[in-house]
């Protein structure tokens, strides 16, 4: 047996992408805590607001969209920490970096899997919480749409900060300090779109803007995450 390049059947990029996605989903499925805890955190934080502010349904309906958006933000940041850390600790990240396929797509696969297990469930439960916060019916659809577009942006942007801090022994709150200011634009347009449908104007403009932001994030953020990972593993 001789080892020549021609005898080795290389995987296609798509196959490597799918393998990484499958693996991450499998790990999330096996480590249920990492998935369930951020979700529970989200539900609990949202239910604390009425207690802290006021049970008055009119006031709640005013702040509902903002409360849900900020809680989503915090929950997504919390779940983010696991994105690369265990891979870094067990050495899988090195294997990922040594893949012959562009790291961009491998990072994208990991971000996608992270969003599927942490972003999507939050989006799906949000109508229930919106009901509990007395958000007017007219805004439900917009809220879900804006969350559907906004949560992947947060995953993609947060991934950069996680990648930068993955090698740190004591990350503490540094992740929050870096990520939270970055999510201001998403928060603004997310809440503005809900506000628009509450005012009976069309939220389409904001959602389109958010879609544009998502497009930019998908094309640039994995590049930054990949660079950050190479720096951190260096």
């Amino acid at each position: 047996m001789t080892i020549e390049q021609s005898t080795i059947k290389q995987t296609t990029m798509a196959a490597a992408f799918i393998a990484t996605l499958k693996r991450d989903l499998l790990i999330s499925f096996k480590k249920k805590n990492d998935v369930v805890n951020p979700f529970m955190f989200f539900v609990i934080v949202v239910s604390l607001f009425p207690i802290g502010i006021s049970p008055d349904s009119d006031r709640l309906s005013e702040i509902a969209a903002g409360v849900i958006w900020i809680s989503v933000l915090l929950a997504s940041m919390l779940s983010m920490d696991n994105l690369y850390r265990s891979d870094y600790e067990d050495g899988s990240l090195e294997q990922l970096l040594l893949s012959p396929h562009p790291l961009f797509f491998m990072v994208l696969a990991k971000n996608l899997s992270h969003w599927l297990v942490s972003g999507l469930p939050v989006v799906l439960i949000s109508p229930l919480l919106a009901y509990m916060l007395n958000l007017p019916q007219a805004a439900y659809f917009t809220l879900i749409c804006s969350l559907l577009i906004g949560t992947p942006i947060m995953s993609l942007v947060g991934s950069i900060a996680v990648a930068l801090t993955v090698g740190l022994g004591s990350r503490g709150l540094i992740l929050a300090v870096i990520t939270l200011p970055m999510s201001v634009p998403v928060l603004i347009f997310g809440t503005l779109s809900v506000q628009a449908s509450l005012n009976n104007t069309s939220p389409a403009g904001y959602l389109a803007l958010m879609l544009a932001m998502l497009a930019v994030a998908v094309s640039l953020a994995p590049l930054a995450s990949a660079t950050a990972l190479r720096i951190s593993v260096n």
């Binding site: 950069i160 090698g167 540094i174 201001v184 634009p185 603004i188 506000q195 660079t227």
Partner: protein, 247 residues
């Protein structure tokens, strides 16, 4: 070749060049600050609308305008660090972040003092500029805390370079989204910090002088800090040791 040049040549070259320039820069800075402050305090006529508060504005606008330079500066230094691995660029970026935080903080402080007179409140969420400045301060603090968290100097240099580039994009996006956000929250918009209100040419000359003064001050403080950083990082090199012996 390039690597060798940037690694060994640059800090020394910068140190010597900046040593020659520093007296002139300090002299120019002193003149501009003195002229600007005296002009502002003594000669600036009270604005018919804003009264004496234009004296605050000249400081505030100059500091604010200068603090906008920090993220572009750090991002450019970051690109140089990542592409050409020039150590000097990283030293400049490292020292720029805290100075930038100072600038942003002073912008916020003077802005809110101005606001307390003109708006009757110390903080106004409807002013896009102050809100943007607040988030710029947060982003700068993020860069600083990332720098202090990473122990490996090389890693810290690259990580902060990347974060500065991402941060620059973010500041720009935040600026536009906050402006948009304000336009749409049709709160009775207070007098903005811009040139809406009629001010005489005296005011604009004062602001121009102060802006030049602040950029000079930025360069002087950045050069001073960078020279310290060079002395520390290059302490093993022969020229720094000679310099220390002579001192």
């Amino acid at each position: 070749m390039w690597l060798w040049f940037s690694k060994l040549g640059s800090p020394k070259w910068f140190y010597e060049l900046s040593g020659r320039w520093l007296p002139w820069l300090i002299a120019a800075m002193t003149i501009f600050i003195t002229v600007g402050v005296i002009w502002g305090l003594l000669y600036l006529p009270p604005d018919y609308q804003q009264g004496y508060t234009s004296r605050i504005l000249i400081v505030h606008v100059a500091v604010a305008g200068t603090s906008l330079a920090f993220f572009p500066l750090m991002a450019v230094a970051g690109v140089i660090t990542m592409v050409w691995r020039m150590k000097l660029a990283d030293m400049v970026a490292k020292m720029a972040a805290p100075i930038g935080a100072w600038f942003s903080f002073l912008t916020l402080a003077t802005g809110s003092i101005w606001g307390s007179i003109s708006w009757g409140t110390w903080w106004e969420w409807t002013d896009a500029r102050l809100v943007t400045m607040l988030f710029q301060l947060f982003l700068l603090l993020g860069v600083i805390s990332l720098r202090s968290a990473l122990e490996d100097q090389d890693k810290a240099a690259k990580a902060c370079a990347l974060l500065s580039i991402v941060g620059l994009i973010n500041v720009v996006v935040i600026k536009y989204s906050v402006e948009w956000w304000n336009v749409l929250h049709q709160v009775a918009s207070p007098v903005s910090l811009s040139a809406d209100s009629p001010n005489g040419p005296q005011f604009w000359i004062a602001i121009a002088i102060m802006i030049v003064a602040m950029y000079l001050f930025l360069s002087v403080s950045l050069i001073l800090a960078t020279r310290n950083e060079i002395l520390q990082r290059e302490r093993r090199s022969q020229w720094v040791q000679d310099l220390v012996r002579q001192s």
